[in-house]
């Protein structure tokens, strides 16, 4: 903590110009308008990801609320040197959404889970990808991945499956699937960099 004067924070209209890291500092000082600005910048992506994983608007809204309240409370846990605020928020969103999904799945029981696994295998994933409102470069980079890598990443990220479940759904060895997820993410990162989207950490 610094001993900067407490009443000389940025004025509200300056917050739109603040960096994400500055916003988080202001949030740490309980400035609600800083949280509002972070929400304005990132809640769209957070909500889109939660909706997509959970396929439920209500649950997605719960997750958005939880993620931003957690930021409000634990702003100090965000370390700008470890990555962007957006990826931090999205990683929390994804983790929380997947938790909800899995507890829901566990509740419904093993039989249905197996059914779900089989259903995923026949799902038209390619179609889903093109439905996404993603930036052209991201779509291109994703489209440039080998199909097997792309499918594995999509099932894991958007459907919340574990790599074992992905392996079962695609009828592939588990070892192959975990390698494909990792290799695919690396390839995707290079593709994004080639398209001018630097993945900085």
């Amino acid at each position: 903590m610094t001993s900067a004067p407490k009443n000389q924070g940025m004025r509200q209209d300056d917050l739109t110009l603040a960096s994400d890291a500055q916003l988080v500092v202001a949030i740490g000082r309980w400035r609600q308008e800083a949280l509002a600005e972070a929400y304005r910048r990132h809640a769209g992506a957070v909500f889109a990801l939660a909706s997509r994983v959970l396929a439920s608007r209500n649950l997605a809204e719960e997750v958005v609320q939880e993620v931003f309240l957690r930021l409000w409370d634990n702003a100090e846990r965000f370390d700008p040197e470890r990555g962007s605020l957006r990826s931090w928020l999205l990683a929390q969103t994804h983790g929380r959404a997947v938790d909800l999904l899995r507890s829901e799945t566990a509740r419904k029981g093993r039989e249905e889970r197996e059914h779900r696994g089989r259903a995923e295998a026949g799902y038209d994933l390619e179609h889903e990808v093109w439905d996404l409102t993603v930036a052209d470069q991201v779509r291109d980079a994703l489209g440039a991945l080998p199909a097997e890598e792309r499918k594995a990443i999509e099932l894991a990220y958007f459907k919340g499956l574990t790599y074992r479940e992905v392996a079962a759904a695609l009828d592939q060895p588990e070892g192959t699937v975990k390698s494909r997820i990792r290799a695919g993410l690396k390839r995707l990162r290079e593709g994004l960099a080639d398209a001018g989207l630097e993945v900085g950490v």
Binding site: S3, K6, Q32, A45, F47, W88, V98, T133, R189, V201
Partner: protein, 239 residues
């Protein structure tokens, strides 16, 4: 798992696509391995691009969030209550230089204990922060102007203050149930400022203490509040 086996799983881990026992093992490894940490961070940045969407979040959702965090509560009465209780019970002020050697020794042991735990288990950032702050702490304790005091209440919480910085050993506070948290407050004049949310099982906390006449710790619902309506668990005046 070997280092190679863990590396192979980092992609799946970054997408929350590993089993819980694998996740725990990986997390343990990540504490020690900056290279693997960097790789996970990179995967997460990459995945963040996949989530990119142009649409806005529902308009009414922000109002609900803002409504949740906006917790108006009386501020000044709490400080008054503190003062009243202190005077009733002790007939004097809160501040009291405590048995200097004893507390200093206890705190040094506590900090050393944490360092050992840090080396053993390589716990986490918090431990790293403590280890880093220990230099300041040791200097603070030995500084001739260092002041020792206690926050009193349900239990006694030692505090060392030196050159505008304070170290507080909160380990004596009982662990709270899930969903509750301790919160540290500083009073400057009539204003009560939240210094930190301490979590439900806090240890050593260091913070800037300049400008505060009084410190208090309250028990709150996680994730903490902007203004507390609860009586303090412990409190004490700074001289």
């Amino acid at each position: 798992m070997t280092h190679e086996e863990i590396q192979e799983l980092l992609g799946a881990y970054a997408l929350d696509a590993v089993d819980p026992d694998e996740a725990s093992e990986i997390e343990l490894h990540l504490r020690d391995c900056p290279r693997c940490r960097a790789e996970v961070a990179e995967h997460r940045e990459t995945a963040a691009f996949l989530a990119h969407a142009g649409a806005d979040a529902p308009a009414d959702l922000w109002d609900r969030i803002a409504g949740t965090i906006d917790v108006p509560a009386p501020v000044i009465p709490m400080a008054l209550r503190l003062g009243d209780r202190a005077r009733d019970r002790r007939g004097g002020s809160w501040s009291r230089p405590v048995a200097l050697v004893g507390v200093a020794a206890a705190m040094v042991i506590a900090v050393l204990g944490l360092q050992v735990r840090n080396q053993d288990q390589r716990i986490d950032e918090l431990a790293a922060e403590l280890a880093a702050s220990d230099g300041g702490f040791a200097a603070a304790v030995s500084h001739r102007d260092a002041e020792m005091l206690e926050l009193e209440g349900a239990t006694a919480i030692p505090v060392v203050v030196s050159e505008g910085k304070a170290w507080l050993q909160a380990a004596a506070l009982p662990e709270l149930e899930e969903g509750r948290t301790y919160q540290l407050w500083g009073a400057a004049g009539d204003e009560l400022v939240s210094i930190a949310v301490l979590g439900r099982d806090p240890g050593v906390i260091s913070f800037d203490v300049e400008g505060y006449a009084l410190l208090a710790i309250t028990e709150e619902d996680a994730p903490g509040v902007v203004k507390s309506a609860n009586p303090p668990v412990v409190a004490g005046e700074l001289s």
